[in-house]
């Protein structure tokens, strides 16, 4: 099935005006076996894309939940190679985006990573500590080997950097909705609509060809997801889902995914 995994752009086209739910799961948490089950059931419970996290020893952009889940995954022996095996075995019919920090990918070899990820059925990569333009050689090694490289935009991204981030962006743009690390929050992201509008206004392509905007960081409840989906094209939920997986098992994660999907697709 892997070869038939739809690339990210065609999935967005198929979605039309519908919004996308993009759950994040740490590969190998709480165990490799349960993680495989979680990937399949979360994907089938209404996900439009799935982000799969490769653990890194020093996750400096992550809050307590993802710190814990990635630490557990490391203790379970997860490596880039084993995460790709898991993605291959999961054989999801939604596009998979590999999310991690740069160093495990460097150690694996960037071109090899991109080729093997594509072969395992992944469609994109998101590297938390590789801001747009910081290392063009790494960016090229990812994109010329068949993966979309998801660019990040933050509230602090100024207009000049926004241009850099959007130039050559493929798949979607990931809007970090607020300052800080990943993790569930009680409040809604401030100025979300204005932030999304700013990105759309700066997009160089005609509206039909513009890259969609997915929003993440701190979105945990169906109500927050619904609000985010009114502003953006896609909604990423990570920490809340990992909390649900930790406390309620695969069924807990599946249940939350259903509720989030209903809220986002409404």
């Amino acid at each position: 099935m892997s070869e038939n995994a739809p690339p990210i752009a065609s999935r967005w086209r198929a979605l039309g005006t519908s919004r996308a739910l993009i759950p994040y799961l740490t590969a190998g948490f709480p165990t490799p076996r349960a993680s495989l089950e979680a990937l399949r059931r979360v994907a089938a419970a209404g996900a439009d894309f799935v982000e799969v996290g490769v653990p890194f020893s020093d996750p400096l952009a992550d809050g307590p939940t993802i710190q814990r889940t990635t630490q557990t995954a490391l203790e379970q022996g997860m490596t880039v190679a084993r995460v790709l095996e898991l993605v291959h075995a999961a054989a999801l019919d939604v596009p998979v985006i590999i999310m991690t920090y740069l160093n495990p990918v460097l150690a694996y070899g960037v071109p090899r990573f991109a080729q093997d990820a594509r072969a395992a059925g992944a469609a994109g990569a998101l590297l938390t500590d590789l801001p747009a333009g910081a290392d063009p050689e790494v960016e090229r090694a990812v994109t010329t080997n068949g993966l979309d490289l998801i660019r990040l935009v933050a509230p602090t991204t100024d207009d000049r950097r926004l241009k850099t981030a959007l130039s050559g962006a493929t798949g979607f743009v990931y809007l970090i909705s607020r300052l800080g690390v990943t993790g569930a929050r009680a409040d809604a992201p401030p100025d979300l609509e204005a932030q999304v509008k700013r990105i759309r206004a700066a997009s160089p392509a005609p509206p039909a060809a513009r890259v969609p905007v997915a929003v993440g960081f701190g979105i945990s409840t169906p109500a927050q997801a619904a609000a985010a989906a009114r502003a953006a094209d896609g909604v990423v939920v990570g920490s809340a889902l990992m909390d649900a997986l930790a406390t309620g098992g695969v069924s807990g994660a599946e249940r939350l995914t259903r509720e989030l999907a209903a809220a986002v697709h409404a």
Binding site: D58, L60, P104, T128, P131, A134, L179, G180
Partner: protein, 314 residues
């Protein structure tokens, strides 16, 4: 080595950080470039180094150690600075930059506590809020420095993640920075981290070598045949090496903590036994396993147990 426009020393250095921090790094680089070309900035810093820190620090001959090692040994006495270490050379420079950016809150990481004490002290001097992240293990090993930071009005936050040492304190400081970046300046204590930190910390520490070189010529009548410095992140080493780079007769020797031996995997020999990787915002040598996971460094010395090293050293 000269740093390129992209903030690299050859292949090393760069800005490998979450997008949220990019604007602050660009602003810092811009403010530093302005300050560097502003004689008033250096005049203010030099006056503080003289009248507040107590510079210049002397070089001291140590005849008994010299007899033991069979070479004339002189010590550059950075321990005689206010707060007891070279760290204050850098924290003063950076606090002046923070003022130019109107940032009233300062954060720092610390290993042994010397950088934390130096940061807490300059914050007290300039009336700025100060939060220092310190590994729980280091707080235990270096309790006196925790007391000194708190005495200066700083909040010391114990870090309980990972190895509970400098590496994890730096992670936690970076997490604070991505959360509070608009109001906060992060005073990194060594020549590590994303550009422009490695070059501005080097420039602020280069006073050590400028003084030492002049003192050697003045008091001993010659240059040293060798300059030896310990390397954790490498700020004191680069501070003294920089002045001797053009002196081909002077050997520059950086010493990393061997811990229980480089073969034991319990050491901090990043340059000796590490491989290039990306950690804490820059490309440099790094203690890591085959899968790119950062390995804990080991040394009895709090602060030398850092698995990375400054990109210019790399």
């Amino acid at each position: 080595m000269t740093v390129t426009e992209t903030g690299r020393f050859g292949p090393y250095g760069g800005r490998y950080v979450p997008e949220t921090l990019m604007h602050a790094l660009e602003e810092l680089a811009h403010v530093y470039d302005d300050a560097r070309n502003d004689p008033r900035f250096w005049a203010e810093l030099e006056a503080l180094l003289k009248n507040y820190v107590g510079r210049p620090t002397p070089i001291t001959a140590v005849p008994r150690l010299s007899a033991q090692v069979g070479a004339q040994v002189l010590l550059k006495r950075e321990d005689l600075n206010h707060t007891g270490a070279h760290k204050i050379n850098n924290t003063l420079g950076q606090v002046l930059l923070a003022q130019r950016m109107n940032k009233r809150r300062i954060i720092a990481e610390t290993g042994a506590g010397q950088h934390g004490v130096a940061t807490a002290t300059v914050c007290a001097r300039f009336g700025l809020e100060c939060v220092v992240y310190m590994g729980e293990e280091d707080m235990r090993r270096q309790r006196l420095n925790v007391y000194r930071m708190e005495l200066m009005g700083a909040t010391v936050v114990p870090v309980t993640s990972g190895t509970r040492t400098l590496k994890d304190a730096t992670n936690e400081a970076l997490r604070d920075w991505v959360t509070n970046v608009t109001s906060t300046h992060y005073i990194i204590g060594s020549v590590v981290g994303p550009d422009p930190f490695p070059r501005l910390v080097r420039d602020f520490q280069s006073v050590i070598g400028r003084e030492a070189r002049a003192q050697m010529l003045d008091q001993v009548g010659r240059l040293p045949s060798m300059v030896v410095a310990c390397v954790g992140g490498g700020s004191n080493a680069i501070g003294i090496f920089t002045a001797f780079l053009e002196d081909k007769s002077v050997r520059l020797v950086g010493v990393e903590a061997a811990g229980e031996g480089v073969a034991s995997h319990k050491h901090a020999a990043t340059l000796g036994a590490g491989r290039p990787g990306v950690f804490h915002g820059s490309m440099s040598y790094l203690l890591q396993d085959a899968d790119g996971q950062v390995q804990p460094a080991h040394s009895v010395s709090a602060g030398l147990d850092y698995p990375g090293v400054g990109p210019e050293h790399a």
